[in-house]
Symmetry: C2
Subunit: 359 residues, 2 copies
Amino acid sequence: MDETHPSPRSLTIYDVARHAGVSIASVSRVLNGRNSPRPETRERVLRAVAELGFVPDGAARALSSRLKEVVGVVFRRPVDEFSVSDEGENLLFVDVINRGVEIAARRQSFSVLIASVDVFDTHPDARIDSVAGKSDGLILHDPLLSAEGIGRVAKRTPIVTLAGSVTPNSVNVRVDNEHGIRELVRHLIAEHGYRSLAYLGAHENSPDSVARGEAFAAAIERAGAEGISGPEWRGNYMADGGARVIRNLFARNGSLPRAIVCANDQTALGVLYALAERGVRVPEDVAVTGFDDIPVARHMRPQLTTVRQPIQKLGATAFDVLFSLINGERPPGTEIVLPTELIVRGSCGCPAETAVPWD
Amino acid sequence: MDETHPSPRSLTIYDVARHAGVSIASVSRVLNGRNSPRPETRERVLRAVAELGFVPDGAARALSSRLKEVVGVVFRRPVDEFSVSDEGENLLFVDVINRGVEIAARRQSFSVLIASVDVFDTHPDARIDSVAGKSDGLILHDPLLSAEGIGRVAKRTPIVTLAGSVTPNSVNVRVDNEHGIRELVRHLIAEHGYRSLAYLGAHENSPDSVARGEAFAAAIERAGAEGISGPEWRGNYMADGGARVIRNLFARNGSLPRAIVCANDQTALGVLYALAERGVRVPEDVAVTGFDDIPVARHMRPQLTTVRQPIQKLGATAFDVLFSLINGERPPGTEIVLPTELIVRGSCGCPAETAVPWD
DNA sequence: CTGAAAGCGCTTACAG
DNA sequence: CTGAAAGCGCTTACAG
């Protein structure tokens, strides 16, 4: 009644061995490309495998070979994205990183186990443990775990964090926020002569946002310009956060700085919209900049001046480091920093770029 | 010399049992939320787990419980995306689907095993088998496997295809291409009075592109308008493909139709650029439409008229169906079709939309 | 409620 | 080169 088709107990290596008239050891050797089996044996096994349609069980392989050929990736993602109209944009960043991980993993015949935790989940430990148990190594986006948490899980599995913090038991991979922001602010001040600039950041527990804010403050300080930031200038890495900050500013009759340096491109997108609502011109009245250089940045009006970071490469690097750790190599250090690059387009006040893609 | 740190043989359930002074059976029961262990036992186990920092091995669990709590997703992706400047856009579609899968999987505490195969790989069987062996079920994008191939793998693992073909051993999940294109063509002809329209398709082995082409031809036929298509009108679902078709058209002095119906939004994006290069105005000289309604569609100039398909929901549905199959339920049918919706914006000739997002 | 033991499906020394 | 057998780390009847 329950099981109409009592799933015909799936094939095992024993079935193949019997069918080929050899031992399971020989089947295993052939399947794993050992060159010991002689041609005839190999042939018989291969034929049996083909005739039976045998696919070896990964769990059993992993258990006895102590290698799963899987790396886990855990990151935060809102529960319900279906309601948001621009769902596709909001978390693109994470997806591009994951793509980088996957592409690098493919080169080593690894697969990537993806698992998200809710944004408000303060104790993602259980989910992380579950993924850790299924992987040979872990990539953690953002600060998902405390340093102690990392220490605990790292006893079982090597860990690489992405834009996280440095801990004694993991390797952190991040981009050079300092350099990017320094160049950007220098450009705004030296080339355009802006004197009052605001930093529109994100969550306070985002190492990236904090680092960008600090680099911003330092650059402003050095130039002797006016730097604006603080709680009213806090977004959430998403367009709605950026729009909200600007709308609130108008609501309380606050005055606009000459330039707004956003923590990322999506925030800048929201800012652009909120400014357009009020008829404020960019860059004539206010300059706006981003960070990331996501693909839409080129399609915004005006095109967005931003700091490019190698998003996909970030993921690929994380995998490569993790892979070497899995193979027992020693960590290359506690942190790997990838370069960033200032991308000047129209939103800072420079003449709009006219290059056409796909040439 | 090889192993500096002979990885201290990781903890097992035996270590925990010994430390807690109970049997491994009790440890297992506590860890799996069985309510048989009495409070005191439970407490001792939990304490031992915490003190030792124990994380159970997923492979061993999977092997003995016959459930991995993993679904595999396999899809095509170019080898080297790092060179392409608009990397982020090109394969967004796949990533959004995968996101849908992951979000649905999370609700059932499943993780998603991601693996791509190269675009030119004609025999992805080995990689697919590898993923199949590590999962409880498989989601295959596009036609990755022949019907026979699916039959073979399906003997071990339930399979759901995404925008694939109907086979006796799998369930296909797709969107209603027919309805979307019918509405779109009707709009272009009835509302705008266009009489010559071209369909700019993609690969011939893409069921989606073929279905859209056929629906296009049928709608054109019904209306008695002029339909243009064929080898010169074949792109690749990417912006460069769309741009190439248009440039080639100009190169051979071909004449432009009044409207170009593209197989997807990215193709339309490339068309828009190639048209702009020549100073051709959209929609005044030529109308251009897309399919998908990816986020950038709203940011293009003019904003793109397109057919929205619930991309993320496609992935979520695939997971839900697969999950029921994994649980031994019978297939809901051979195919599930999700609705599409015409989204009218400026590129077809309608007055541009002015709505601002994030309100 | 709890424990001893079998078994999940492979890989891999160990002999021959 | 090949096979018998142990073992990977869990879960789960089966007894008690």
